[in-house]
Amino acid sequence: MEKLLSIIFIYIFVENFVLQRFFGICPFLGVSRKMETAIGMSMAVVFVMTMATLVTWLLYTFVLVPFNLTYLQIVTFILVIASLVQLVEIVLRKISPTLYQGLGIFLPLITTNCAVMAVALLAVRQEFSFLESVVFAIAASIGFSLALIIMAGIRERLELAEMPDVLQGSAVTLITAGILSLAFLGFKGMLTL
């Protein structure tokens, strides 16, 4: 229990996936312009990350390791993630068209979100148990969402700010992310696994 709680805290704050570990930077920069899209993306990521880790962990532990095929890890993991994203898209369209309308456009983007792949790889590399892996995935995706949503809030205001031409757009977004990252650096060392 203690370990699970540590994992949750560490991967939301201390080792925040976006701001401290640099996973999922592309969507972080790409869809943080509006709060609405940021929230949509966050929900999609939480869902896909958790599902992907669940499936890849089982696959790794019960197929790749027993058959000595761990060197196929990258190929299988990326295929699982890609097909999972497809599957979620199809199922969502059938079951809940409203939710699909909200999340649908973000799903294809998630395949190349390296945070999803990173969480699946790290769960295996850190030798987490099944439950720990799932909790890890949830915590990491919440950390991702937190960073994304904070950033969206800042950028909505930043739109109205006056600044030199050359800083506009990505440059100022990155510098803002740096300051955010500096704030999260305060959590460093608070807790380790």
């Binding site: 640099f22 990258i74 390296c114 792949m117 031409d165 050359v166 800083l167 440059a171 990155l174 740096g178």
Partner: protein
């Protein structure tokens, strides 16, 4: 430029005008994640470039045999195969670099530059042009990582060619206190942000569009 051949354009495009990092803002995760030292940054750049060139070549070769409905899964498998090969080769022959890059080596597979070039360029163009495009983009990516990691290592550690103490060259002598910020995550964001601003300025000044 006067009537330059499409081949030359394919090659140079990725280096400056459509630089994957500074202009297209792709492949940001490794760009920020492994650039604390020049050796790691360039190592990652070359590894990703190798995958990019190989996958561009193979995808271009197979472009007429892969049905368009399943092209994305096929591309992903091809890219993942090359990434795995690179991973094994690094582990066997460059173990120090392999350890330093860590999880970012397998993550080359989700580097948007590679799938992006496969989908947008290699799957529609002949082999030679795809190859040149791959090489150009690879050089552009490596160059961007070199610049960012040079800024971060010189400011953050005061060295070049670190972290191995045997090869590290200290630039400023004993009285230099490094700006540790640049060696840490916030410094990566800030340094890249400032570099982007400089690139924007230069592009504007020299009218590159």
């Amino acid at each position: 430029m006067k009537a330059s051949s499409p081949y030359l354009q394919d090659f140079t495009r990725g280096i400056v005008k459509e630089n994957p990092v500074f202009v297209a803002l792709l492949g940001m995760c490794p760009t920020l994640g492994v650039t604390a030292f020049i050796v790691n940054g360039v190592g990652m750049g070359l590894a990703a470039a190798a995958v990019l060139i190989a996958s561009n070549l193979v995808i271009s070769l197979l472009r007429n045999y892969i049905p368009s409905q399943v092209r994305i899964p096929c591309f992903i498998v091809i890219i993942a195969t090359f990434v795995t090969i690179i991973e094994m080769v690094l582990q066997a022959f460059q173990p120090v670099l392999y350890e330093a890059l860590g999880v970012f080596v397998p993550l080359i597979v989700v580097n948007c530059i590679i799938l992006g070039r496969a989908e947008a360029f290699a799957s529609k163009r002949p082999v030679l042009r795809s190859l040149l495009d791959g090489i150009g983009m690879g050089i552009g990516f490596t160059l961007a990582l070199l610049i960012l990691s040079a800024v971060r290592e010189i400011l953050g550690h005061g060295t070049i060619l670190g972290p191995d103490p045997e090869s590290a060259i200290h630039l400023f002598g004993a009285n230099f206190e490094p700006m540790a910020l640049f060696a840490q995550p916030p410094g990566a964001f800030i340094a890249l942000g400032l570099l982007l601003a400089i690139v924007n300025l230069l592009f504007k000044r020299f009218n590159i569009k």
